[in-house]
């Protein structure tokens, strides 16, 4: 039993996080929004310098866990660049309305549907304000022979989302300790504390599930896709609750461009909605389960 990423992966994550901080940290997202076409240049070279693009997550367990750690570090700063999508090597799409958060990045992508159908994908140009499109571009798909596994491409972006959720919690904890009203930090009020604890339970549960699901992929469990769908349900629920509570506790300032929480919050939205949102994720999971429960301690007891 080893329920955390390897020490090496965690060290790598810390290195990536520091490098992104040195490259701009919380300023990376506003700078990208000011010049969407130039956003790749803010992140790609920094990560290239650390060997991130040389990682092959399907090559070894160490590289897989390192890739997951990088995605979480990218999420921490809410970087406006599809790090997880590049590392996974493909994007999961709903081919009825193919979209991905890859607008303005000049690349041809491999896309895959949940049932494993493969495509090449190119992003249509973005139009309008970043505030509205959040780099989500419509994709033109061209079918390709053969099938591909969508699991890793579902799981790695979820590590990015976890990084965002963890950052939101860290910022909110700090804010409620500093912000005073009625003569004391608002974190002294039980009404505030209890909201924060609800958010923390979700964060902790999300973290536990995302690591388990990465292992499920890593260990080639036959139900890895089901696990990824279950993770997606839990991840969206956790992120929805954590960001709602963070915004509530930050109050009006949390919506303003001057606060990093507002940037991390908006960066998390496409990750919660694509390739499918909560209702679709639940439906997909229920359809996949049929009349057999999710793998657990007692899943074989009634077989």
């Amino acid at each position: 039993m080893q329920i955390d990423l390897t020490e090496e992966a965690l060290e790598y994550e810390a290195t990536v996080r520091r490098a992104l901080e040195a490259a701009g940290g919380d300023e990376l997202a506003p700078r990208a929004a000011a010049d969407p076409e130039g956003r790749a240049a803010l992140v790609e070279p920094v990560l290239a310098g650390l060997g991130v693009w040389d990682l092959d997550p399907t090559g070894s367990v160490d590289e897989l866990e390192a890739a997951a750690a990088v995605c979480r570090a990218a999420g921490w700063w809410g970087v406006a660049y599809p790090v997880a999508e590049r590392l996974a090597g493909r994007i999961v799409v709903d081919d009825r309305k193919p979209q991905a958060v890859v607008g303005g990045i000049d690349r041809t992508w491999e896309a895959v549907t949940l049932d494993g159908r493969r495509f090449t994908a190119t992003a249509r140009p973005l139009a309008g304000l970043v505030r509205k499109h959040a780099y989500v571009a419509d994709l033109d798909l061209t079918a390709v022979d053969g099938s591909a596994d969508p699991v890793l491409a579902l799981v790695l972006p979820t590590f990015t989302l976890l990084g965002m959720v963890e950052r939101a919690m860290a910022m909110t904890r700090q804010y409620v300790n500093e912000r005073e009203q009625f003569g004391k930090p608002i974190g002294r009020f039980q009404g505030v504390q209890f909201q924060l604890t609800d958010a923390e339970v979700e964060r902790a549960g999300f973290e536990a599930l995302v690591k388990y699901t990465l292992w499920s992929f890593e260990a080639q469990q036959p139900e890895a896709l089901q696990d990824a769908l279950a993770l997606r349900v839990a991840a969206i629920e956790a992120a929805d609750l954590v960001f709602r509570i963070s915004h509530q506790l930050f109050g009006a300032i949390g919506f303003c461009d001057e606060t990093p929480i507002s940037w991390v919050s908006r960066a998390s939205v496409p990750l919660r909605r694509l390739p499918f949102g909560l209702a679709d994720a639940r439906s997909q999971l229920v359809a996949s389960l049929g009349d057999r429960g999710l793998t657990g301690i007692f899943s074989d007891l009634f077989a």
Binding site: I3, Q193, G205, W215, G293, I297, F298
Partner: protein
């Protein structure tokens, strides 16, 4: 990462399931029933486990245990709780009374009590809560006052599980007034048949004999009955509560019932609404989530880095899961026509689970207390 608990744990689960199938009648729902046969089931099952060295599997070999790994211990907790805890009241003695004696007992106490617990020969009750000391446990008023070469205990305990069955009470009393209310508390081991001890069962919705009041009227104890250092009982209580807070694998019973649901319903499963199935699937995710959070707490405990916040977050997740899963299961039962023996058994278990789950967010430290502990941890307060 590696979430495989290994072949020893898988084998242990198989063994325990076989023993439960063989020795616990189908439909057993705990010893807290009107039928004395249910208490006998639990006591007999404990003997079976004790004879096989599996009752105190976690204990060191010198005390009759097997020195089992933390994951084997976890498997025992999960399998037992899922099967309605057929060890009955014994889990208390095994899980924390015995280990507390090992850490704090005198040699005479260890020699007297530990073998009894290892053999499944003794039932304990825990005298902690009082009418005016629930979540604020350190506010207890039951006192032990010096009287010659012993002590006289007076006061009242409440919500005491197993008091009607127990031979001994693990009793928290005030022995002096300290600077803080947590100071000046001590633990005494009190025989339940001592003169002056009176048990009054409280009839409640969970079933008979579940909770009780216990009155202590000039009960005489001696120095030999004191467990741990005088006036420092609060430290012992904290150890007990930390055992309790991670002790119950509620997620295991939740998962077993959720996994059983489609099988019990048979063809009727397909007719359930998408809404109900979606909630069912969500609860299975939450079972996995709670289990993984428990495993994390156990791993951190082994490393010595666990915080009260880690345990509290798990407790909040698992007790909410208990109640929410019970609600979903009740909806599944209500939406179906259940007639076969298996279906009726499923329905009875779900009903019992729902009733019992109401107390999940109250027992062993309320959710509010857990949230306070977690908030302190998060905010450094």
């Amino acid at each position: 990462m590696d979430y495989d608990l290994g072949p020893e744990v898988a084998e242990l689960r198989r063994e325990l399931r076989g023993l439960i199938d063989e020795h616990v009648p189908k439909g057993y729902l705990s010893p807290f029933t009107d039928d004395p046969a249910d208490l006998a089931v639990a006591q007999d099952f404990c003997k079976v486990l004790a004879d096989r060295g599996q009752l105190c599997i976690a204990w060191p070999e010198e005390w009759g245990g097997r020195g089992a790994s933390v994951w084997e211990q976890t498997a025992v907790r999960e399998e037992m709780w899922a099967a309605w805890e057929p060890r009955g009241a014994q889990y208390m003695g095994v899980n924390w009374v015995g280990p507390i004696f090992m850490r704090h007992g005198t040699e005479a106490q260890q020699q007297k009590f530990i073998p009894m617990i290892a053999k499944g020969d003794v039932i304990w009750c825990q005298g902690f809560s009082e009418p005016n000391a629930g979540s604020d446990l350190a506010a207890i008023q039951t006192s032990a006052k010096r009287d010659g070469d012993g002590w006289r205990i007076n006061g009242q305990k409440i919500w005491t599980s197993y008091a009607t069955m127990a031979e001994f009470c693990f009793l928290l009393v005030r022995t002096s007034k300290g600077e803080k209310k947590q100071h000046g508390l001590s633990i005494f081991i009190v025989p339940m048949d001592a003169p002056g001890v009176e048990v009054r069962p409280i009839m409640a919705m969970f079933g008979p004999h579940h909770v009780n009041e216990v009155f202590f009227d000039d009960v005489w104890v001696t120095e030999a009955d004191l467990l741990g250092p005088l006036d420092h009982g609060w430290d012992v209580v904290n150890e007990v509560l930390s055992f309790e807070r991670v002790g119950i694998a509620r997620y295991a019973r939740d998962e077993r019932l959720l996994q059983w649901a489609p099988v019990a319903l048979g063809e009727q499963w397909d007719a359930l609404s998408d809404e109900v199935k979606s909630r069912w699937a969500r609860m299975l995710i939450h079972c996995r989530r709670a289990r993984l959070m428990a495993y994390r707490v156990l791993e951190l405990q082994q490393k010595g880095t666990v915080t009260p916040g880690d345990t509290a977050a798990y407790r909040i997740a698992v007790t909410r899961l208990d109640q929410e899963s019970a609600d979903v299961l009740i909806d599944i039962v209500n939406a179906s026509v259940l007639e076969s023996d298996e279906q009726l058994r499923f329905k009875r278990e779900v009903e019992e689970h729902w009733r019992y789950s109401l107390s999940a967010t109250v027992a062993s430290g309320s959710t509010e207390v857990q949230r306070i502990l977690l908030a302190r941890n998060l905010l450094g307060a």
